[in-house]
């Protein structure tokens, strides 16, 4: 038990040290430029104090002059209405598209993966096409997608889909092909028809592979959406970042990045929970009492 306290203390110490260096470190740059890197200039990376101010403002906790909205006439909701670019709206836009990109990507990836994994003939026909498209870095397709589908939500879902689909498809495909022959034989010997074998053996067996790919799938969905927002968007955290870059507002950029980090962690943890439930029969996730 002792050890755990020390671990946490060390972690807290690191965070405090990082924040302190970030906030005041650059002041030492003039005299000790061998110690403090130039990029620590708040012009580029902002400072915790500035970041916090901008966060409060963007999140509609304070108005433009830094005065708290709580207790004023219009208050929080009024501020949200007045500033359509507030942090909540931006975060929601990104999350919304991440969710749909994930759902559609996983759904289509699993379906096509199962079909091609089960029917060898079809797989052989489509294999060269799939390899060709997969070899292309899907990120390179994003400008094309934005061109085709515009600046709205659809193009973001598409960019997320194009990355998630291939990941999930390949996992499903390999999983479906690697089903244990003996499991299939056992089912056949118990009288299972082809369809029953697919439903009761191939699908559950493949799902282990698929569920393993869910965590990266969620991350890639987020990446796809963000990149889509970089290239062309009306809203979203990616747009906040790219605009901040254009207007040299490093504090805004940092706020967006922090929120993204929180979002990323939350999604990963959430998916892991789902995985642990779905794969509770695997040693990896089993809780031994």
């Amino acid at each position: 038990m002792q050890k755990r306290i020390w671990v946490h203390l060390a972690q807290v110490a690191i965070v405090l040290w990082l924040l302190a260096t970030w906030e005041w470190g650059f002041m030492l740059n003039e005299r000790f430029d061998w110690l403090v890197p130039d990029i620590l200039d708040p012009y580029f990376v902002s400072q915790p104090s500035e970041i916090w101010e901008r966060f409060l403002s963007l999140a509609c906790f304070t108005d433009i002059n830094g005065v708290s909205v709580f207790g004023t006439e219009t208050g929080f909701t009024g501020c949200l209405a007045r500033t359509p670019d507030n942090l909540w709206a931006m975060t929601w836009a990104t999350l919304y598209n991440t969710f749909w990109g994930f759902v559609v990507g996983v759904g289509s990836g699993v379906l096509i993966g199962l079909v091609l994994g089960r029917y060898e003939g079809l797989a052989r026909i489509f294999e060269p096409f799939i390899i060709a498209v997969n070899s292309l870095p899907r990120i390179a397709l994003v400008p094309l997608i934005v061109l085709m589908f515009g600046l709205g939500d659809l193009s973001k879902v598409m960019t997320a889909w194009v990355i998630v689909f291939f990941l999930v498809f390949f996992n499903t495909y390999e999983g479906a092909r690697s089903v244990d022959r003996d499991h299939i034989n056992a089912a056949r010997l118990l009288g299972a028809s082809d369809w029953q074998i697919t439903r009761t053996v191939v699908v559950p067996s493949t799902m282990a592979w698929v569920f393993a790919s869910l965590t990266p799938a969620v991350s890639f969905s987020l990446i796809g959406v963000i990149v889509g927002e970089f290239i062309g968007a009306e809203k979203g955290l990616g747009k906040v970042i790219i605009e901040a870059e254009a207007t040299l507002e490093s504090a805004d950029m940092m706020v967006a990045l922090f929120v993204l980090m929180v979002v990323g962690v939350a999604l990963a943890l959430g998916i892991r929970r789902v995985q642990a439930y779905l794969l509770r029969w695997q040693a990896h996730f089993h809780e031994v009492q």
Binding site: D180, D182, H183, N185, A186, A187, R188, L189, L190, G191, A192, Q196, T200, V201, P204, S205, M207, A208, R280, W281, Q282, A283, H286
Partner: protein, 289 residues
């Protein structure tokens, strides 16, 4: 009186033991008949004969052990009878009907060497799998599963996943999964090979118990002579590769047999040493390869 009498070696009609016992009645119809069975593979351009001209017949209610050194093709013979692999030449009939590859006969149950229980299903759902496939109503399913669980000594583990079970328990689940659909013919491929001695003896007891009541027609593949003597009525010894029938022995040790106490009897020791000599030659040949 010897408890194991030798039947004329390599006799194609060795299905009918030539003893002085009373002639068998119509109830002892032939259930499995194999004639001139041959299996060869192409490996690196060469033709390798795995099994060469095997013929035997098994009657209703007989427990026959197929024994031989590793690589002699005994599992291959079993898999051809089960319809899992095609034969290169020869005739296989179950209840007079020819066996077709990929379409196992419905009255046949098969137990694999490695446990093929489905890791994503609980013990209960694994055992009930065959009943699910044939649409047995839930109430009846539950009752039969309960009975099977009792027979296998798995009480308390009904809702556990296979990963929480020992190898012996998993093999028991696999055994009950096969037996619960009440197959009249059982094909068993060294089902207890991976178990430790004590568990194996337990499984022998369980199997003898169940077989004593149900009297299935059994073909049991093993390399363990003690196991074959404990369980079977007749032992077919296969030669080293390519597998041919070397000799067939009738086992007349009294039933019911207790796996542990059986080994203390003089009859058992006598049978063992007779057959061992025959078998040992083949083991040596297989090793010399």
């Amino acid at each position: 009186m010897t408890a194991a009498s030798r039947i004329a070696p390599a006799d194609p009609s060795a299905g009918a033991p030539r003893t002085d016992e009373a002639p068998r009645g119509a109830a002892d119809r032939v259930r499995i008949e194999v004639r001139g069975l041959v299996k060869s593979y192409r490996l690196h351009g060469r033709e390798i004969a795995a099994v060469d001209d095997i013929s035997f017949a098994i009657r209703e209610g007989e427990f026959v052990a197929l024994i031989g050194p590793s690589g002699c093709g005994k599992s291959t013979v079993l898999n051809m009878i089960a319809g899992l692999i095609p034969c290169t030449a020869g005739d296989i009939r179950i209840d007079g009907q020819p066996v077709r590859t990929g379409r196992p006969a419905p009255a046949v149950g098969y137990v694999f060497q490695r446990d093929t229980v489905y890791p994503w299903r609980t013990v209960r759902r694994n055992i009930g799998y065959g009943l699910e496939l044939t649409g047995v109503p839930a109430a009846e399913r539950e009752a039969r599963i309960r009975e099977a669980v009792g027979q296998a000594g798995l009480e308390g583990f009904e809702d556990a996943y296979p990963l929480a079970l020992s190898g012996g328990m998993r093999q028991r689940v696999a055994l009950m999964r096969t037996l619960i659909v009440r197959p009249e013919i059982l094909l068993m491929d060294e089902p207890f090979g991976a178990l430790d001695t004590h568990t194996k003896l337990d499984m022998h007891r369980t199997l003898l118990d169940i077989w004593g009541r149900e009297r299935q027609t059994v073909l049991f593949v093993t390399h363990d002579l003690a196991e074959a003597l404990t369980l079977s009525d007749r032992i077919i010894v296969l030669s080293a590769r390519p597998g041919r029938i070397k000799e067939t022995f009738e086992v007349t040790l009294e039933r019911p047999r207790d796996p542990v106490r059986l080994r203390e009897s003089a009859d058992y020791a006598d049978s063992f040493s007779r057959i061992w000599h025959c078998l040992g030659e083949e083991f040596a040949k297989a090793k010399a390869e």
